[in-house]
Amino acid sequence: MVNRKLYVFYITATFIVLFMLESPIILIANRVEPFLLGMPFLVFWVFFWWLLCTCLFFVAYKTNWGRHSNN
């Protein structure tokens, strides 16, 4: 069965990450300070959203993106 809510969640979450990285919001993150985890803020910002999205994609794969198993 298709778990519609889960599928929509994954798609929406991906759009949110892309929005954080590619919308004008990036101009707010476009700064050196504060240094976080030893990185300039912009580097940290990109690294953070990228890592979050990569983990999300892994969970999505494990749950088959909320869709059918296709074999």
Binding site: V2, T14, V17, L18, L21, E22, P24, I26, L27, N30, R31, V32, F35, G38, M39, P40, L42, V43, V46, F47, W49, W50, C53, T54, F57, F58, A60, Y61, N64, W65, R67, H68, S69, N70, N71
Partner: protein, 489 residues
Amino acid sequence: MSISVIIILLFMLIPLIIGFIAASKSQNTSDDYFIQGRGMGSVAAFFTVSATWWSAFAFLGSNASFYTQGPVYLTAFAWNILFGFLYFIVGKRVWFLGKKFNYVTPSDLLGDFYQSEKMRFWVTTILIISTVPYLQIQLTGGGYLIEVASGGTIPFWLAGLMFYAVIIIYVWVGGIRAVAWTDIIYGALVFFGLLFVGFYISNVVGGPFSLFEQMRAENIEHLTLPGPQGDSGYLSWISLCFITAIGAIMGPQLWLRMYAVKNGNLFNLMPFLISLVAVTYFGSLLVSWTGVLTINEIDNPDQLLPVVLYEYAPIVIATLVLAGGASAAMSTANSQIHAVSTLVTKDFYQRYKNPNASNNQLLRIGRFSILIFSLVAYLLTLFVPGFLVTIGLIGFGGSAQLIVPTLGSLFWKRSNSPGALAGLISGFVTLLLFTFIPGWQNPLGLSAGMWGLMVNVIAFVTVTLLTPPRKQNTFERFNDAMEEFESNY
């Protein structure tokens, strides 16, 4: 003979051996040669997609960009996410339709959906025009790396020629299977090599964290947009992300790799894998910013990686990574040569010249078009190198225009042929105008490809709504197919 030259020659030998092993596995059919009979396994599919996508543009370009333009190339993390996501959303549907209706090329799908011969013609033409310049960039980059790695022992023209010879031989004998298998080796080497080298080289200035501290103290303008030269701001950031990801996934070489995959589950995994390998850009960042701190003058920023490697790394590691870079170029070039030969054979030769062509005729035309196409690209590489950067922009920008009719075919039931054609052609013309007409280039700092996409979308939607819908029988055939997809996948 120096150790570097031996390593490079070994690199040339490996794909040849793999090509012949792959050839021994192949069934002598055109389907096997062009799309591996839709039976490509997941590991091969992942590596061939990511190695094809990770080109010389990325390998050399990322380092040059971080070095001269500051952080704008960080947008690459987002384009990997976008690319992986599109591979899942678009790629899986394309794979399904390809399997169901037996498509081999992009214009098979778009021509069938829009029921338009003109659409077929333009899709193939735009893809071939867009692929040639991008192929030239790979060969120039690869030939150049081999020349530097051999300390000039192998001159540029010979490096380029060797490159061509090896690619032609193994694509000729092994088809897409040989390409995919060699990509496994190249892919692994490039990803791990560059990341490892990043951490290794940054130790010169005390490791990554110390590197960032020193950059803050000495080169703070490198840490934020628009970078030290002030020319790489937000519009460059989004142009790079969208045009690179969309242009790459719409390229014929990636499209064939959607059809070739055996199991649809791979498409569920791909976003994760593609996103994960973006970590390699972190290696580029570390190498480049170490270069900013330690290398004062450099003639050509594209030389940064070789210069830094030979300065700070043992010669064997340096050569291995540079040979890996050449491999990145080769693994994109081989796929492009193979893909364009497929388009010429299936879309032009078989469709218009000889519809009843036998398997052997198709294979022969496929192979000879590899030879001719490679020769043209080699001569262009030698004699018109100045064109590369300009024409290279058309490469991604051109193939990116296909995303509009493709999304239309997959997600908008109302879409029709006049709208798709109007969008595609007006988008491509806009790209040409904003690339070549002096004074019109990249208005407002947004790339010509992005302007093309915007014009494309507007024309597509407007003309579609003003013209009648598609014929009922085609409409129902695709509607049923998409419903089958939704209920099974």
